[in-house]
Subunit: 323 residues, 3 copies
Amino acid sequence: MKHFLSIHDVQDLGNLISSGIIAKRNPFADQLLGKNKTIGLLFFNSSLRTRLSTQKAAQNLGLNVLMMNVGQDSWGLELEEGEPGNPIVMNGDKAEHVKEAAAVIGRYCDIIAIRSFAELQDRDKDYAEQVFQQFKKYAGVPIVNLESATRHPLQSLADCITMEEFRTKPRPKVVLTWLPHFKPLPQAVANSFCEWMNHMDVELVVTHPEGYNLAPEFVGNAQVIYDQKKALEGADFVYGKNWSSYEHYGQVLALNESWIMDEAKMALTDNGKFMHCLPVRRNMKVADEVLDGPRSLVIDQAANRVWSAQAVLKEILIGQQEE
Amino acid sequence: MKHFLSIHDVQDLGNLISSGIIAKRNPFADQLLGKNKTIGLLFFNSSLRTRLSTQKAAQNLGLNVLMMNVGQDSWGLELEEGEPGNPIVMNGDKAEHVKEAAAVIGRYCDIIAIRSFAELQDRDKDYAEQVFQQFKKYAGVPIVNLESATRHPLQSLADCITMEEFRTKPRPKVVLTWLPHFKPLPQAVANSFCEWMNHMDVELVVTHPEGYNLAPEFVGNAQVIYDQKKALEGADFVYGKNWSSYEHYGQVLALNESWIMDEAKMALTDNGKFMHCLPVRRNMKVADEVLDGPRSLVIDQAANRVWSAQAVLKEILIGQQEE
Amino acid sequence: MKHFLSIHDVQDLGNLISSGIIAKRNPFADQLLGKNKTIGLLFFNSSLRTRLSTQKAAQNLGLNVLMMNVGQDSWGLELEEGEPGNPIVMNGDKAEHVKEAAAVIGRYCDIIAIRSFAELQDRDKDYAEQVFQQFKKYAGVPIVNLESATRHPLQSLADCITMEEFRTKPRPKVVLTWLPHFKPLPQAVANSFCEWMNHMDVELVVTHPEGYNLAPEFVGNAQVIYDQKKALEGADFVYGKNWSSYEHYGQVLALNESWIMDEAKMALTDNGKFMHCLPVRRNMKVADEVLDGPRSLVIDQAANRVWSAQAVLKEILIGQQEE
């Protein structure tokens, strides 16, 4: 593996999931692999699980970690590139261009991992994933996605590992359900989940109020049902997540409080498990009874973030050895 | 030792003090004890000594360190728990519940150390120590107090180590004196100091203006004297600290500038040493002449914070080996 | 080497440059030198290159790193010292005096590295370098300058290493040229560059609009020319930098947009290389064509920051062994 920006960078998903499970059983087996190598973790946005689990995975592999809250620790980055005859004049609040920042950090680090959320103002801009494309172009080292505007693949891999651990059927029914939230959230986790499930041997159903359709390239072969209760029938895994509208980009169309996940709805499933990437707003998106009950896998998912990151970093480090 | 939230978690205070002094002489003797283990340091508030000394102690023990400024690096935490039929609906500015945060961090860390100050608005709430109780309940790993609303036990242990190093009598007279400050400060350091001194073989006197009585469960058997000069007579150690009123909770009742510690007052002691946990506002709380003079132990106290933390972390790590 | 505050702390500049180049070829040769030692990195201001490169250099030498954003992670520091009879009463927004902070951090760290920029309000105050002088006085351990109000010596050493790698003549012509910027910037990098070039075997020319003369003690033997094009003629290295006025302290006298560095001006040189310490505002200070062209050494300079820091830290660590 060279970069890890999306599932398209994964050669063999089954192998990657296995590698995560093996790392979980024996976390320190590859401690020499990262020796004298350095990973830079760049956060443009807040993080709890990603910050801690990626750092831990890196330490398990013997990597040195350089951590930076971009903008807070260092300088605001200009992302726009001009063209010959029409240069970008940097006379605003951004003191450094990503061309320099990426190239410089690429000289200090063997791997660069980045979190940069959608701004939810301009869909084309968000979906162009400028930060990641520019770091990929200018850093000269592997780039890892710690959640971009459109994807959160380390979360999706942790979800796959968790489902592998808890599934009871060869081809489970997986339902991604929209949940209510009063603030506009990105589509990244939902997009990524669909994208990865489309590569897994599952029956994927997506349910949400009308107006919240995800981008077709992510939904893929999933069945879309606007009736949440109907969608949940017989589910083995229920994956809850809020997202703002893709069509009416970045908007909260209506609160839709009735879409909260509770035990009555979970009762419609086939003894289904509940999953969520966290953080989750209790009793707004999901009722206490679900999160605190035996159906919830949310802590297991979060714990598996370490092994998801470790499997990806290991594959990148092995790729560097082979160069 | 399982948790370290207060002196009540200490089995043998003499042993713990000795362990700190031994670590000071030979800092790297236990470097294998923490190998492949991880401590998370969570700061809800600012820190200099605690941040650096705890990190250093952890490194001396071979621990990996994950550092997080909660709220700044990650999300604001909801601490309130609802009840069946009366759930807490998280529709405000807190994006994550401590139930999830604690459980997740507990999966990434073998020990979690937390700093969370009193808010000084609601005494019952502060004294319930919600953050610590919830992390203890939900994290599933040992919790270490890096200063809570009501206590600062790593400071108190460093104070005990310092007094052990500098005492010249079997049973010294120790005077905790209130100092003036224009801002309301928590009672944590003063509470903790009293609590620990009540377990030491000392004569403890507490002096402060009327209205600043500490909670009786912390004062214990100490003698309380409202006349500062009288209290200081014959003291071997003078421990200075400001705190806001416990009775009129969180209030600065009056500036009481005359309570400043200066050389004239130190002259009333029996060649007494001056102690303070730092940071200290010079010439507001304590005169330059005291802090810069030979009676001051404030830097020694701060330096001993490393050995205090190292003794506690060592005992917790040994406890984990025995499980 | 004891401290590293300026070139005056360097015994043999040729040796130090060689040491950096040797470290670049073999980064991990001295990994035992820093074992069980700790460096504290204190940032009063933003940083990207300095933060990451110094941390990496420290890790290459086996040092433990304690990182702190002063003011943000800990407390605001009072720098003023009173006199007998005229004490500084700390009743403002600074909760801790540098006397205590420096002494305490000096007990936790074997080396303290500090970044503290000019405030550009009071020239005498900035040029007195209070933070560094006080840490030097009170910390009791070596102090390293990560950019002070008046100097940036780790940058200058990286510049020397870069020029050593790219020079094609025994005695190159080096031109430091002022560049336009709408915000007032410190003189530190320009000062330091002059100071170091005055110790190198180069022909040094400084060019800037009238009113932007640097302090004479830094300019030294350099030739000062107010005509930028004339100055650039035959240059082997062009070092670009903006600075605010030293005479009219901290002021932007005029935008002088025509002072931007572009290819037409670079064509006046003797196939000269372009250097800049970064961050650089594109098309305000320097045109894209220069930064993206083959003449630019800016990324090499930044990359050499690791080896500059490693050479300095190594010499300090060796100095400590000899004590």
